[in-house]
Point group: C2
Chain length 158, copies 2
DNA sequence: TATTGTTATACTCTATAACTATA
DNA sequence: TATAGTTATAGAGTATAACAATA
């Protein structure tokens, strides 16, 4: 019945395996996020949640501004907004001051949904941090920020 | 010149923002990995590196075994192996004991490439951990493992 | 001329379902 | 009947290049 064990890259292969630990944890956390939402009959990705929060806190922002804040190309953003708009959570309004841009905003439904989503995210955050003390969680976030600071920026200046 | 500041979700929105910190750090680390390889004229993703290490350490393993170890569907694995095989790094051999399966292995070129890749990954790992002491790095990996343990598993048993 | 949003196009990663060869 | 690998297909995330509208 039992399969022979597979030698993984857990140990010995690399000095610290920080990147690997990060990837595995991130994957498990993503799965927990999805499971938390699915269990409540909702469907949302962490990226969509982040986007909605950004739009809620910066009502009227343009797609370019949002794309920059998310670190993605403006063309990538288009189908993502299409979907959220199709779900009735978000609207593109014509900016009165610059007709080239759209003023993004949440619909009343979007605001209600975001309130529900935030509760689920809190539940999710509580679960993934359940093995850690408050101090440990604080330490973890601090260390993650230090790692982020040490990583090379996305685009090297040419 | 300066753009008005965008309110992000850094603070106040959620209890701990662990998931968010994880995502941002993971993204920066991924970018550093890519930049490290691009800077050396090589191209490889963290996932491809992990796959190569797995095959090197488990020569003759089948695609199903590898897919399970990677946590992906067997159909997802096919084009990934196609590409690595197309680059001459990996081979699918017919298993002598079970003709349904392929015995995976690295080519001599694949072994040489993996040695180069491993040096680059060490360089990358050193850089991303450069802001941390050895003890902090150890702590970070331990805390990440605790988080992973607290997250719900991918598939709930039905 | 430069910027914004969109479209067209192209990869990659991911999955499910159906097919084939084998067990 | 069950398993391994493949293919067909589809959805999402990512990008670059070109285009129309507007500044």
């Amino acid at each position: 019945m039992s399969r022979p064990p597979v030698k993984t890259l857990d140990r010995g292969v690399l000095p610290s395996l920080l990147g690997y630990a990060l990837r595995r944890t991130q994957s498990a956390v993503f799965a927990d996020f999805a499971a938390t939402f699915a269990g409540a009959g909702e469907a949302l990705t962490p990226g969509e949640f982040g986007l909605l929060v950004l739009v809620e806190r910066n009502a009227g922002m343009s797609q370019m501004t949002l794309a920059r804040a998310l670190g993605i190309d403006r063309s990538t953003l288009v189908p993502i907004l299409d979907r959220l708009q199709g779900r009735g959570l978000l609207v593109r309004r014509r900016s009165p001051t610059d007709a080239r841009t759209h003023a993004l905003g949440l619909t009343p439904d979007g605001l209600k949904a975001l309130a529900r989503f935030s509760k689920l995210v809190k539940r999710h955050e509580t679960r993934i941090a359940s093995g850690l003390s408050t101090a440990e969680t604080r330490t973890l976030i601090d260390l993650l920020e230090k790692v982020r600071a040490g990583a090379r920026p996305y685009k090297e200046r040419p």
